[in-house]
């Protein structure tokens, strides 16, 4: 493509758009019956760090007659050049326009990437709203944010709820069959709405409460299921795993091999959506993981393997897997990394093992500053554990630690903020005691703002007001002014809009379109996020983001995402919320008895643990 060669030398990081990466798959266009474009609504470096992309890419491209190519959101400098040269959004593999594909599949990883979906559709020359599209491509979406699909219900043709790798083949069968029979878009959608996990929003309508606040969603078409139940991989050990992932040609955010050791987490943190929607825990066998580690090193040449999951220190055979990988690959300069660690002695033993090749940073997530609040959110970390762990880490030669907290949690008071400051000081103190070098000793405290998420025990809760969050941040900042402590926090305006979308309803489609038209894009990037544009978009749609973010629901309110079934029962969520308010914790079903979340019986699965 000659135009591209004219453009690329003039944009930042042109390797983002050049393609040709190792392991990228270029299948014969004319020989394919169905062509999919996987769209990640953020830049290349972010999207290439997403394991789901690599999983689906390898499954679809392994299927005869199907091809999948990748497309990411071009940075604004590139988008401008593309528009200037009349170049529509194209995929990296064949450099064909996205609108030539049969299916355009977006992944929804975080709410603040929604504006980029519109940005990409627009660059592709595809109408933004589902009802304005008749032919190609079918626009579909999946990922965690699909568990509250309503804010995108007028834009996306259909959602796949749950684990896409489990649904994709069946979905493509129905698609191909429908095309063979010459079905119209509506006929196809009707047929595919019968596939488990598929949600076709145009067959449903939202209900409003009398006061105009969001209500439930119900089918308007006979045959559309009342509740859409998530898809789930039963046997993760034997599920296809991409052992030949595309190796990014320019540094990705997570520029390393991603090797998933288990899915799901039943620690039960009450704010955590991933901990609810990815249940149950399914560990993969050590032998499987080790075999794939070998293949991945051979196939990618990367120098680091990240053992990924929601809480890798909990992986039953983690110790053996880490040692075996290092025994085999350390001589080639290949190290292992763990995303974040549980605060206990075991984790330090693990971290010591991990640093045989490369010393990585240590991150712990106590999430709250006092034991009282940690009990409320069900985060099973004690102060003693954390301080002991930190001291052990400093003794082992680490000189900087990261601590993740959340502010604005339900029931939080200034005492809890004082607790964060005290905890950070104690960790710093532990570092001094352990003899960490004074000049290098560093404790980084990151405070994100609590966002109530759908399908969690805190889904009924209100977010703290923007002004209140600012006050909390200033309060903490004042108490963390000490040599050796670095304090980071998030833009509260961004968290406010995120909260509105996280529990949003169908009316937000209009807001999203207005926001996009007023220039919103890359809203997860502080440098691009502009609160005033969002507030204006809400205002012009006659809506108030506070109605979504600050709304405190009752247990028997019907919620805009109640028709999406994540497998965990509402009774369990209610009970967990009650226990939270009483400050009572709930244990992990993996190590103790069943906690009654209802998922295993509803979806006929069981937690799977690997042998030590």
């Amino acid at each position: 493509m000659e135009i591209l060669d004219q453009i690329l030398p003039a944009v930042q990081k042109p390797a983002r758009y050049a393609g040709g990466e190792w392991n990228s798959v270029r299948k014969d266009w004319d020989g394919a019956d169905v062509r999919l474009a996987f769209a990640y609504p953020d830049v290349y470096e972010v999207g290439m760090s997403h394991l789901g992309l690599h999983i689906l890419y390898s499954i679809v491209n392994a299927r005869p007659g199907a091809l999948m190519e990748r497309v990411f959101a071009p940075w604004p400098d590139m988008a401008e050049k593309m528009k200037g040269h009349g170049l529509p959004l194209f995929t990296l593999e064949s450099r064909r326009p996205v609108k030539d594909f049969d299916i355009l599949a977006f992944t929804l990883q975080y709410e603040m990437s929604f504006s980029n979906i519109l940005y990409m559709l627009d660059l592709a020359g595809i109408p933004l709203e589902s009802r304005r599209r008749e032919g190609r491509p079918l626009v579909i979406a999946g990922g965690p944010c699909a568990f509250n699909p309503e804010p995108l219900a007028e834009i996306i043709d259909l959602f796949v709820i749950g684990e896409g790798e489990e649904a994709i083949d069946e979905f493509l069968d129905v698609f191909l069959d429908g095309r063979k029979r010459g079905l119209t878009k509506k006929e196809f959608l009707l047929e595919v709405s019968g596939v488990r996990g598929v949600y076709v929003p145009s067959f449903y309508r939202p209900c409003l409460r009398e006061d105009g606040s969001p209500g439930g969603v119900e089918p308007v078409l006979n045959g559309a299921p009342r509740r859409v139940i998530k898809r789930l991989v039963g046997d993760l050990d034997q599920a296809p795993f991409p052992v030949k992932p595309v190796v990014p040609s320019t540094e990705a955010v997570h520029d390393r091999i991603m090797l998933e050791v288990f899915r799901g987490c039943t620690r039960g943190c009450r704010f955590c959506q991933a901990g609810m929607i990815y249940r149950p825990v399914r560990e993969r066998k050590a032998e499987t993981v080790l075999r794939q580690a070998d293949e991945l090193v051979r196939n990618t040449g990367c120098d680091e393997i990240s053992l990924t999951s929601l809480s890798t220190s909990d992986y039953t055979p983690v110790r053996r897997v880490v040692s075996s990988i290092l025994d085999k690959h350390a001589c080639r300069g290949v190290g292992v990394s763990l995303p974040s660690l549980r605060a206990d002695g075991f984790s330090i033993e693990l971290a010591k093992e991990v640093q045989r090749v490369r010393r990585s940073s240590l991150t712990f997530a106590p999430e709250a500053g006092t034991q009282r609040l940690r009990d409320v959110i069900n985060k099973g970390v004690t102060e003693e554990d954390l301080i002991e762990t930190a001291e052990a880490a400093f003794k082992e030669g680490w000189h900087s630690l990261k601590l993740y907290f959340m502010i604005g949690l339900p029931t939080e008071t200034d005492d809890d903020l004082d607790g964060i400051a005290a905890l950070a000081r104690k960790v710093l103190e532990a570092g001094r005691r352990a003899g960490a070098q004074r000049g290098r000793l560093k404790v980084t405290v990151s405070a994100s703002s609590f966002v109530p998420k759908a399908h969690t025990p805190f889904q009924w809760e209100s977010q703290a007001g923007m002004e209140e969050l600012k006050r909390k941040q200033a309060y903490l900042s004042g108490r963390l002014k000490e040599r050796g402590i670095v304090f980071n926090y998030h833009d509260p305006g961004l968290s406010f809009i995120e909260a509105a979308f996280a529990r949003g309803d169908r009316r937000l489609n209009g807001v999203l379109i207005r926001a996009f038209e007023s220039g919103c894009k890359f809203d997860g990037w502080t440098e691009h996020f502009d609160l005033s544009r969002w507030l204006e978009a809400f205002r012009s749609a006659g809506l108030d983001p506070g109605m979504y973010a600050y709304r405190r629901y009752c247990y028997d309110d019907v919620l805009p995402w109640d028709h999406i079934d994540a497998g965990v029962s509402k009774e369990f969520l209610v009970n967990e919320h009650r226990l939270a308010m009483a400050g009572v914790t709930t244990g992990d079903c993996r190590t103790g008895s069943c906690r009654g979340c209802g998922l295993c019986s509803a979806l006929e699965v069981r937690p799977v643990c690997a042998g030590r």
């Binding site: 060669d5 004219q6 690329l8 030398p9 003039a10 990081k13 042109p14 390797a15 758009y17 050049a18 393609g19 040709g20 990466e21 190792w22 190796v247 040609s249 320019t250 540094e251 520029d255 090193v297 051979r298 196939n299 990618t300 040449g301 990367c302 120098d303 080639r332 300069g333 290949v334 640093q355 090749v357 490369r358 010393r359």
Partner: protein, 230 residues
């Protein structure tokens, strides 16, 4: 420990790799090829790979050079063969030779480079006209370009001493400019600087951006005789 010098080409999508991307690409290719990389010591070991001279992002290279150290003694032909099969699209291994372990860093040995630029002309012209314009250009007493110094201030700099030759031809509406310029750590002249000065001084105007290629990298201090980086 063994040291290998690799002559390679950088084209296609690989033109857009930055210096750091290229380093990673070589490291990963070597590991995929099963070559035993040698590493620096310390908490954060790095593979011992170094390049002769950074190449601007977007510029192709026909005869580029890199040094790679391995922990074992392997026949250079095998290194070349194994590496060839593991390079991403656009990176091509041309030849590998073994060099003495103590040989000075590639970076310090580079003296000059040759380049080629191709573009479409706005208005038709012929080769004789171009030859005249280039001759005028080269007989200017000095060729000043603006560069930023370390403090970020713009300073005028005379690149003429670093221009060894410039030639060109026109074929229909396609113009080709070739040059031999000083390269390396001191007095390096960028081809883009030469092209934009040429455009400015001769009234030459091209329709599209020049597509650039570095055609060879040569040793310093061999008089007029060019010697590749072996």
């Amino acid at each position: 420990m063994s040291k290998y010098r690799i002559m390679y080409a950088k084209a296609g999508p690989a033109r857009y790799l930055s210096h750091l991307d290229l380093l990673r690409a070589f490291e990963r290719a070597a590991r995929r090829a099963g070559l035993p990389l040698a590493f620096t010591r310390g908490y954060n070991p790095h593979p011992k790979i170094s390049f002769a001279a950074p190449l601007g992002v977007g510029t192709a290279g026909e005869r580029e050079f890199a040094d790679l150290e391995l922990a074992a003694d392997i026949l250079p032909e095998r290194v070349a063969g194994d590496l060839s099969g593991a390079m991403p699209e656009g990176l091509r291994v041309i030849e590998v030779r073994k060099v003495p372990e103590q040989s000075p860093p590639l970076m310090s040995a580079v003296g000059r480079a040759t380049y080629r630029a191709v573009a479409k002309l706005k208005q038709p012209a012929d080769s004789d006209w171009l030859a005249g314009r280039i001759k005028d250009f080269l007989s200017l007493p000095e060729i000043l370009v603006e560069r930023k110094n370390k403090a970020g201030e713009k300073k005028l700099f005379d690149i003429k001493p670093g221009i060894f030759s410039v030639s060109g031809r026109i074929d229909g509406d396609i113009i080709v400019v070739e040059a031999e310029l000083k390269a390396g750590s001191s007095g390096n002249v960028r081809f883009e600087e030469v092209l934009s000065s040429l455009e400015k001084n001769t009234g030459l105007s091209v329709l599209s951006r020049f597509s650039l290629c570095r055609t060879g990298l040569y040793r310093a201090g061999d008089g007029d005789k060019k010697k590749l980086m072996w």
